[in-house]
């Protein structure tokens, strides 16, 4: 749920990065944190296990500047990707305004992507939200592995697997090098802001 403070003219919007474990959700936020440090006033919060896996969520508040006199604060969250953590994934999804689904483009991860997307669909239903209505951007992460000879699915296959019904904007990306990470972020921010505006006006 976005929140609008009319006195201080602040709009808070919640964007969640969702996807299978070790897919690069946290890496997306880490890249954003490094690249846009001017727009980030506080430190990134990461709740991790000892093995550096996300335990609960990462949190990164991102200042977008002013739109129509309102200061726009984008709250970026990730969920833990591991299958066993669905209870915490659901908690993080509470009040979500926009979603980035970070798919792992490696061939070996094909089934995990589909499962994770299906679970997102179910989890959103729990909050009476629909995956077909909420602003969503899909990112096919790790395409850089192609150059290292690791089997990566062609984008057409990924699109067919994950985006044939949703038909949402999608990007090939590499969270490690930052390729298309800002583009993904820009796209989800603009779709989310448009959707929040529509709901309000």
């Amino acid at each position: 749920m976005s929140f609008i403070n009319l006195r201080e003219k602040i709009v808070q919007v919640k964007v969640v990065y969702y996807g299978p474990g070790r897919g690069g959700k946290t890496s997306n936020l880490e890249y954003i944190n490094r690249k846009f440090s001017k727009q980030i006033q506080s430190e990134m919060v990461s709740l991790k296990t000892h093995g550096d896996r996300t335990l609960f969520f990462d949190f990164l508040p991102f200042d977008m500047g002013k739109i129509k006199g309102y200061e726009l604060k984008i709250q970026l969250y990730t969920v833990p990707g591991q299958v066993k953590y669905n209870a915490t994934r659901k908690l993080v999804l509470k009040g979500v305004d926009g979603l980035v689904f970070v798919a792992d483009a490696q061939e070996a991860m094909r089934e995990k992507n589909i499962r994770s997307l299906n679970q997102l669909h179910e989890n959103l239903k729990g909050y009476k939200e629909s995956i077909f209505k909420i602003p969503l951007v899909i990112q096919y992460n790790k395409v850089d592995l192609r150059n290292q000879g690791i089997p990566v699915l062609p984008t057409a296959v990924l699109e067919k697997d994950l985006n044939s019904k949703l038909k949402v904007p999608s990007f090939e990306a590499s969270a490690l090098t930052g390729y298309n990470v800002p583009e993904t972020l820009k796209k989800i921010i603009s779709s989310t802001v448009v959707s929040v505006q529509k709901k309000l006006l």
């Binding site: 976005s2 009319l6 808070q12 919640k14 430190e43 919060v45 604060k73 908690l91 009040g95």
Partner: protein, 132 residues
Amino acid sequence: MNYGVVSQEQLEKIDEILSEQLIKIGVDCVIIIDMAGNIITAKDNGTSKYDVYSFAALAAGNFATVDAMAKLVGEQEFSLLFHKGTDCNIHFSKIDEELLLITMFGKHISLGFLRLNVVKALEQIRKLWAGK
């Protein structure tokens, strides 16, 4: 989905309640957040500087986790959620299904006294919210 919009007038009244009931008795910082981790309002004694945005995200997660644990053991909720430190303590209370009141206070205030004042503040905020 409901979108949270609070008028300037409501916010001013809420801030007044928080100042009167909590800041005045020596509380360092009071924050009202929603369960999604957004800040509704934050008020402090002028000397404490907390990163309230990160705090709100963590607090909402913390509260949601404890709430889920309560349900696992068959409780509706755990009504007292309180963290005690050497110099700083944090007290959480639910205003309604969507809102949380978080109070940070030092060692000079007893928990009992704080809870009494929190209850008064909650009653007044709920009344105000009901008239929204």
